[in-house]
């Protein structure tokens, strides 16, 4: 599925999702890296040693979700933009997700945008909570967006502008 369409299957995602118990304890990184490619900046970016050293650079990232505090340092360092932060404790109804976004215009805080799934289809409303774009992120800004909890595992991008959300 993934190698035919570029969209990870539900089973792929299950393999990289933190446990429900961990998700309910606060922000944590979710690494959607499913292919053995020679790449390890997520490990070098992680200051808590939650992402383990690669024995072989072609290994998949090995993250200890217990050690990860969702600091988001790895998000803008991943060349594949494959990492997001998920925080299910944001509010009673909503989860906060942090995603890399390398397009213009950047949304502004409090903007209402569309939450897009992994195929780019609009699935829900999303509210932009924060736009982080410091120099250290090197032009890969990170957006914090709030979505209804049931969409936290579905939304992976935002759409601004025209009707289809793109």
């Amino acid at each position: 599925m993934l190698e035919k369409t570029g969209v990870p299957a539900a089973s792929d995602l299950e393999n990289v999702m933190p446990s429900e118990e961990r998700l309910n304890r606060g922000p944590v990184a979710v690494i959607e890296c499913f292919q053995n490619i020679p790449c390890n900046p997520c490990y070098t970016a992680c200051s808590r040693n939650a992402i383990k050293e690669f024995e072989d650079i072609n290994d998949l990232p090995n993250i200890d979700h217990e050690a990860c505090n969702g600091c988001s340092l790895c998000v803008s360092k991943c060349p594949g933009l494959a990492i997001m932060i998920m925080d299910m404790t944001y509010s009673e109804q909503e989860a906060l997700i942090k995603i890399p976004y390398e397009f213009l215009p950047l949304p502004k805080e409090n903007d209402l945008v569309k939450g897009l799934d992994r195929e780019g289809k609009p699935v829900c409303e999303a509210k932009v909570i924060k736009v982080m774009n410091p120099k250290s992120f090197d032009k890969t800004p990170i957006l914090s967006i709030a979505v209804k909890k049931e969409f936290a595992k579905i939304v992976r991008n935002i759409g601004m502008g025209d009707e289809d959300g793109r």
Binding site: E32, C33, Q35, C39, N40, N58, P79, D138
Partner: protein
């Protein structure tokens, strides 16, 4: 005639790294590039590189170009000849060159050929219409000169270049209607594919172009599905009204100078075409001629850089220059190359290179 210790032909990732490492051993380097600005295709790569810190992982290609260039430009052992096309390598070891219209000769003691590769094209009806461009050409137009190639694009080829350029097109504000690849699977890194998919762009694997439309310029593209024997299926046609179609079906080494120099060449499909036979330290069958980067086999720019460092060391060492830890350095570079190529995505490269290597002990036939 201009004397030179090492002449490096091509100032892309491989050539720049070769210059840095040869110069580090004290060797005088002449670095020739046909463009006014060095950096090769790195200067158009807006995405972050993969690999490890040693290959500048997580740094954007354009910034890697800047890092490498500053190391070369501030190096008293390196003389840069920009706007200089190397025309030929002759039997007596003389190299001819043209710098901004002035013809001259160079007599180098060793040569590193790092000329890179050129884009392949694909045969289909009306593939000659203006608007049907190489994906790299579109990258040059938009990332180097800030000019949009058009309004709406179909990308042919879901390898890394096709995927990366599609993403860059969207960053430049151009709509990507679809990515099409005849292969049943996406050839490029799946993380690249996923980031394009979540922008809403479809990837049609197992599809190819039926024909392009238009009379003076491109107006549309019709694709159709392929069965498992790669035959097109009637009735599966889809038409896209686009003014640009990018062709990204692979690269082929720019190996003319190696042929002319009499290097033993071999056709290796996995490496993009005819490539030079060489030893582990990248010396070709002609003594004193070394290769690095895509001209020695098409692969990622990360490997091209490592090969450049290795070829630079080898060429300088061939001329008698050395450094106390030369073996350590060589081993480290070999290990980096092995690591970059060791995974499943490196399988093709490993297979291709295994057909090319001769042992350094074996007969190195000719001398330059």
């Amino acid at each position: 005639m201009k004397p030179a210790e090492v002449l490096i032909i091509g100032g892309g990732p491989a050539g720049l790294c070769a210059a840095i490492s040869a110069a580090e051993l004290g060797c005088k380097v002449l670095l020739a590039d046909r463009n006014k600005k060095l950096g090769g295709q790195l200067v158009k790569q807006t995405h972050m590189f993969f690999g490890s810190e040693k290959q500048y992982a997580s740094v954007r290609g354009i910034d890697i170009a800047g890092i490498l260039l500053s190391k070369v430009e501030n190096n008293e052992n390196v003389e840069i000849l920009s706007d200089t096309t190397i025309l030929g390598i002759y039997e007596d070891g003389v190299v001819t060159a043209d710098q901004s219209g002035n013809y001259f000769k160079i007599r180098p003691d060793a040569i590193i050929v790092a000329t890179g590769a050129s884009e392949k094209t694909l045969a289909f009806p009306y593939n000659d219409l203006p608007g049907v461009y190489g994906a790299g050409a579109v990258q040059t137009l938009m990332n180097e000169y800030g000019v949009k190639p058009g309004n709406r694009v179909v990308m042919l080829g879901a390898g890394n270049i096709g995927l990366i350029v599609s993403y860059q097109l969207m960053q430049a504000g151009v709509e990507v209607a679809a990515i099409v690849d005849a292969s049943p699977k996406i050839g490029g890194y799946l993380v690249h594919a996923s980031k394009i998919r979540r922008m809403g762009v479809p990837i049609y694997t197992g599809h190819t172009v039926k024909e392009a439309h238009g009379t003076e310029t491109l107006k549309g593209v019709t694709i159709w599905q392929l069965d498992d024997k790669w035959n097109p299926i009637e009735g599966t046609e889809k038409r896209f009204d686009v003014d640009v179609m990018c062709i990204s079906v692979g690269l082929t080494p720019l190996s003319e100078l190696l042929w002319q120099a009499g290097c033993e060449m071999k056709y290796v499909n996995e490496l993009g075409g005819f490539v030079p036979v060489r030893n582990e330290d990248l010396e070709t069958s002609v003594k004193g001629i070394f290769v690095a980067g895509d001209v020695s086999g098409v692969e990622e720019a990360s490997s091209a850089m490592v090969e450049g460092f290795l070829a630079g060391l080898s060429a300088a060492n061939y001329l008698g220059y050395t450094i106390y830890n030369i073996n350590e350095k060589k081993n480290d570079l070999h290990q980096q190359l092995n690591a970059l190529r060791s995974g499943p995505v490196g399988e093709k490269i490993r297979k291709g290179i295994s057909e090319l290597i001769f042992s350094s002990e074996a007969a190195v036939s000719k001398e330059i």
